[in-house]
Symmetry: C2
Subunit: 328 residues, 2 copies
């Protein structure tokens, strides 16, 4: 079985839940704007993690499916609002929501998806599990939403600040990307009836693959076009984006090299991409980042081995590996 | 006791909860932007309604105080996002959040307040009440958030559409303004342990005063400056805003008058305010709107009389009357 098959296995049920949730939104303009990115696709990794984490602790798909849909709704909400903030005009091969419906409707579409996510968690059937579990799953999801906002705000505050250290950077990407993935695995484990140890293991697994996911994303930006299936090399460098490689290179470079790298990042020209990558290589920053991603995935898989082996734990291990192979 | 004293009675406890909730937001820029409107004031009517509704069914302040704070956080979230959408640059006598921190941070501030609201409800102490009640209170609050988004979207879609009928208009203002007030009273009644009948009574009370609140707001715009403590008369007319008076006048006016009123509303000049008000008066639209507000408040107070009388029910009746006296 391939990862794509694992994700396909649950995506139909997840889609049904999402469709039910958004199908009642009124007026029509608002409904369409909430559905746009969902219809445009997406791999459904996060919701699949909720369901697999429930199964990994002996729980069912049914008990986790509402929260799985909710996690995808939250992910979509954050994409819509991020695209407004970052002025990104394309997403999933389609014009962004704010491009099609304007900024005001896009803000509302995000807010609606956010509200719908919580409503959906609260629809978890309580005949099979206790209210306490639903509340704890919801706490986990809500906590990750706060972190997503904080992470995005930190990312904005970091812009043009080249003194950000590795700890601050890692904390930012944990909040911005890792927290929702960790909430997906944690809420699944809670709803599936995992004991406290299992819940912590799956939370940590989610956090680790979340970090690897973000670092791999940054890594893919500096590897050659052929390896990267055609995405232009160095777009993060042109945009002056903070990445683990930038943070590492800046904190290890000579004063002269540091100054040069900062001027390339501030400059916004794509002619200096090769030189920036040369500097990353000089200080071992690309290998450093890649190693952290690989180590995170290894640690995540080691954690899974402490759980009873099942089809779900095997799938979770495959998803961990997939994070490192992932090509844009 | 005056209404201002009733609101003052709970505002200190509500402020403490809000302060605790927002005090941990990081980075500092995000924290400040979430606190800005809260620090600028606000009468705290909505959170007081949560607490009073708990007391009105024999519940405590303690059991409702977290949800009371949450309702104020949601109200603040909606003000911040609305100000971005409506390009309103002032709020509560201060520059709006997006004016001070930019649109991106304002979107995030709203999203953070939204997340924090749900976190706060989930902090309701469960030793005193069951998980089920907290979940039901949360469902109520989440449902009102969906309605707020839908109401705001409908309001946007109505812009420039002069065919909106009274039912559509009333449904829009119920969602935009009434739903959160009804959620305040309903969640308070649920948390306070009200029986199903009491919960329905307080929900309907909230819905009715919420409608009266919005209609009174529109009414205040067309009464004379002296009665209205200095707010310029007719700003809604200049902005071409849909109000109950507009909807009523348009559906009752002769073709000629209808055409004239529409052209005034589209025109955006303040020279025609008097003529628009004259047309409202010609068709009895001002009296019609005012009568609905008065009748809603009367019905709300009649409903309260079916509950056992207490200090809380007397306070709720006073708040209902206050909605009609309220001056900007």
């Amino acid at each position: 079985m391939e990862v794509v098959d694992i994700l396909k296995k649950y995506s139909k049920d997840i889609d049904v839940e999402i469709k039910n949730s958004l199908g009642t939104v009124d007026p029509e303009e608002l409904q369409k704007s909430t559905q746009h990115l969902i219809k445009a696709g997406g791999k459904k990794i996060r919701p699949s993690l909720v369901v697999l984490s429930s199964e990994a602790v002996g729980g069912t798909v049914e008990v986790a499916i509402k929260t799985a849909a909710a996690v995808e709704l939250i992910h979509t909400f954050s994409l819509i609002h991020d695209d407004i903030m970052d002025k990104d005009e394309m997403r999933r091969g389609e014009p962004s929501v704010h491009v099609l419906w304007g900024e005001s409707m896009a803000i509302l579409a995000g807010d609606t998806l956010f509200s719908k996510a919580f409503e959906t968690v609260l629809e978890t059937p309580v005949n099979s599990i206790s209210y306490e579990r639903v509340l704890n799953a919801l706490k986990t999801v809500v906590d990750s939403c706060i972190k997503i906002c904080e992470g995005q705000a930190s990312d904005m505050c970091f812009e043009g600040n080249f003194e950000v250290n590795e700890e601050e950077y890692m904390n930012m990407i944990y909040k911005k990307t890792g927290a929702l993935i960790a909430a997906a695995t944690r809420s699944g484990a809670i709803l599936g009836g995992g004991n406290p140890e299992e819940v912590e293991i799956l939370t940590e697994y989610g956090r680790l693959i979340g970090l690897a996911f973000q670092i791999q994303d940054d890594y893919l930006d500096v590897i050659s076009e052929e390896e990267n299936l055609g995405k232009p090399v160095g777009s993060d460098i042109v945009e002056g984006k903070m990445t683990l490689m930038v943070v590492h290179a800046l904190s290890n470079a000579s004063d002269e090299d540091k100054e040069e790298l900062i001027s390339i990042l501030k400059d916004g020209e794509d002619t200096d991409v090769d030189r920036a990558i040369e500097l990353f290589e000089k200080y071992g920053s690309i290998k450093y980042a890649r190693d952290i991603a690989i180590r995170s995935v290894d640690n995540a898989k080691n954690l899974l081995e402490t759980l009873d082996e099942s089809e779900a734990t095997v799938s979770l291990a495959m998803i961990a590996d997939y994070v490192l192979q992932r090509i844009h």
